[in-house]
């Protein structure tokens, strides 16, 4: 075990925090000079590698993104691994390399961690938990700042991560164009702040997809949300997979797409920044005191509710 930790894990993070890890103290001592954001998440994904990413990339981006969503720049991560006996060393190395490379890109260091190995069959090849601390660059970003008339922007097209994982699990032959949107959102959030945008609230649309996020925003603010279907970008591949399984693209997970609420004054500026990172970014709707729940307006003028997803996603049989 010691050999694994020293030669494989420390080695993987040598460029991103190695000097602190190698001290092998019971805790890492960190330097931060501003208010602090702190977040944790555990990552379980099957298969471990998929088009556009892998569990290591998600484990780094997931926590970096959660921190970015409150206007904070991640500085340090912890990385806890739960490994199934028999996991190939090559697999572990590839996952760690991917995790480290995302940290390097975002300027984040991995400074502490933990490794457990469980007997075969007790965990599904590997689970990763990452926690992160971050410097808050922009205070007051959160649901408490949501207000009537706030504009909602979406940073890209939706449902790709969910569709990729689903089709990989189904051993589907999918189009080469369909890749998970898994990526770090730190860059785009920094660019927004630098451009002078004051985000009211940001949420990445991970599990439960866009539908879950919009419902959370509505519930937390006590305001209605009205969005237009025509403005929400969905790729044809995602639409096709949804049709086959009977899923709603609004409920599929994303790993690098977020909803941004801004004051009307900031809308244009924010959209310009988002578009530099993703041409599918769009203004999709707004918060309103006059409505309740999340309402989706169709292209032909009818309206229906977008309910939060319920339970497991199971394919239809009809």
């Amino acid at each position: 075990m010691e050999a694994l930790i020293n030669s494989v894990i420390f080695e993987a993070f040598s460029e991103v925090g190695g000097e602190i890890l190698k001290q092998a103290n019971d805790s890492a001592i960190l330097n931060l000079s501003s208010p602090l954001a702190f977040s944790t998440d555990s990552f379980v994904v099957s298969p471990l590698f998929f088009a556009g990413g892998d569990i290591g990339k998600i484990a780094a981006c997931g926590t970096i993104n959660d921190l970015a969503m409150v206007g904070a720049r991640a500085k340090y991560l912890s990385c806890a691994l739960i490994l199934e006996e028999g996991l190939l060393l090559g697999t572990l190395k590839a996952v760690l390399a991917s995790l480290a490379s995302e940290c390097a890109k975002a300027g984040v260091k991995v400074v502490c961690g933990d490794t457990k190995v469980l007997p075969r069959g007790k965990c599904d090849s590997m689970f990763i938990n990452t926690s992160g601390v971050a410097e808050v660059l922009c205070e007051g970003v959160g649901v408490q700042s949501l207000k009537d008339g706030a504009k909602l922007l979406l940073s890209g097209d939706i449902g790709r991560h969910g569709a990729v994982v689903l089709s990989a699990r189904e051993e589907f032959e999918i189009s080469a164009d369909l890749k998970s949107d898994c990526k770090s959102l730190l860059g785009v959030v920094m660019a927004l702040i630098e451009a002078g945008v004051k985000p009211l609230c940001m949420r990445d649309a991970t599990r439960g997809g866009l539908s879950a996020v919009l419902n959370e925003l509505s519930r937390a603010s006590g305001l209605g949300v009205v969005v237009r279907e025509a403005d929400i970008a969905i790729s044809d591949e995602v639409l096709g997979i949804c049709e086959i399984f009977g899923f709603e693209p609004f409920e599929l997970a994303n790993e690098g797409t977020f909803v941004l609420a801004v004051s009307p004054d900031d809308e244009q500026k924010a959209l310009e920044v988002l578009r530099k990172f993703n041409p599918f970014a769009a203004y999709i709707g707004e918060l309103s005191v006059r409505r309740s729940g999340v309402i989706l307006q169709s292209r032909y003028g009818t309206q229906r509710f977008l309910e939060p997803p319920k339970g497991e996603l199971l394919p239809r049989i009809c």
């Binding site: 044809d236 639409l239 309740s292 169709s298 032909y300 009818t302 319920k310 049989i317």
Partner: protein
Amino acid sequence: MDLINDYRNSELILALAKQIKAEAATLSRPINIMEICGGHTHSIMKFALGELVEGVVNFIHGPGCPVCIMPVSRIDEACELASMQGVIFCTLADMLRVPGSHTSLLKLRGLGHDIRALYTPLDALKIARQNPDKNVIFFAIGFETTTPMSAVIIQKALDEGVKNLYFHINHVTVPAPLRAIMADKNVNIDGFLGPSHVSVIVGSNAYKELALEFKRPIAISGFEPVDVMASVLNLIRQHKRASFEVFNEYKRAVSAQGNVKAKELVAKYMRPCTFEWRGLGEIDDSGLCLKDEYVSIDARRVFALQKEQATKEAKACICGQILRGVSKPPECALFAKACTPNSPVGACMVSSEGACAAYYKYQRRGA
């Protein structure tokens, strides 16, 4: 042609809505159209198509959801099998959450029984191969769409000599309950939206006799909004000129004969039998069961089930009336109160194709 976007083209949908309204202008009352299939119920609610034809078309939801029509007695059987020692119990879709008389498969899974919701029925075979020391029971459900898949698995299991895979067949057919509904004097329906995926297998000819005998037009329709609107338009036109044909709007997938090979494969292993439908009662030859020569893989016969189980339906639940097309979900006293998708009282709220779930999901509150 783009098989999704073209069938969701808003100009086309609006033009069809306009035509429907124009045709219906000379009718003395709204036309009652029953969608037999739960997939249509969901499309109608999801795309809010009712709003486009408000006042001229009254959509009535039919019995076409394989989960909703499952009688409590069969769910009790499933629970009994799933609780047995050494069993891996497999089924599809939302079946896990449907309440039986005393418990549900989901609750049993929480107690530690090995119960799995499969993504594809073929996984049942894989699970049986991987667990030779366990009895794997596949609780097969669904209309004509899913039956051929069950037949394929039976064939593969027999060919490969897999000895530990058993089948609890709960397949049902569409034409039989359709006949029961048409014959019901309390049900006032002017035309039917015929199922799309089911018809790919059974073929459009399967409904011809019914349409003529009961003098009701049927339009086999795809699930997309343009499909549904075009089919509704056809039904109104047929209604006005009193014609009772089977209109095949879903020609891109449905032929007159259907999928003959699939039907033959099903007939090799299964035979028609009486099935007790939730809400409709027992209907002769409306279900399928394994033929006698396959008794050794028939879970109902291999594992002696307690025959006279007392089954009980939730009292206030009006699923039965909804499946017969005489009531709509909001008319149920429990709807969106005691009964929600998170704590469903009846099957219609459980299944993603159920009418109560569709109303709850898309139209629960006034917009």
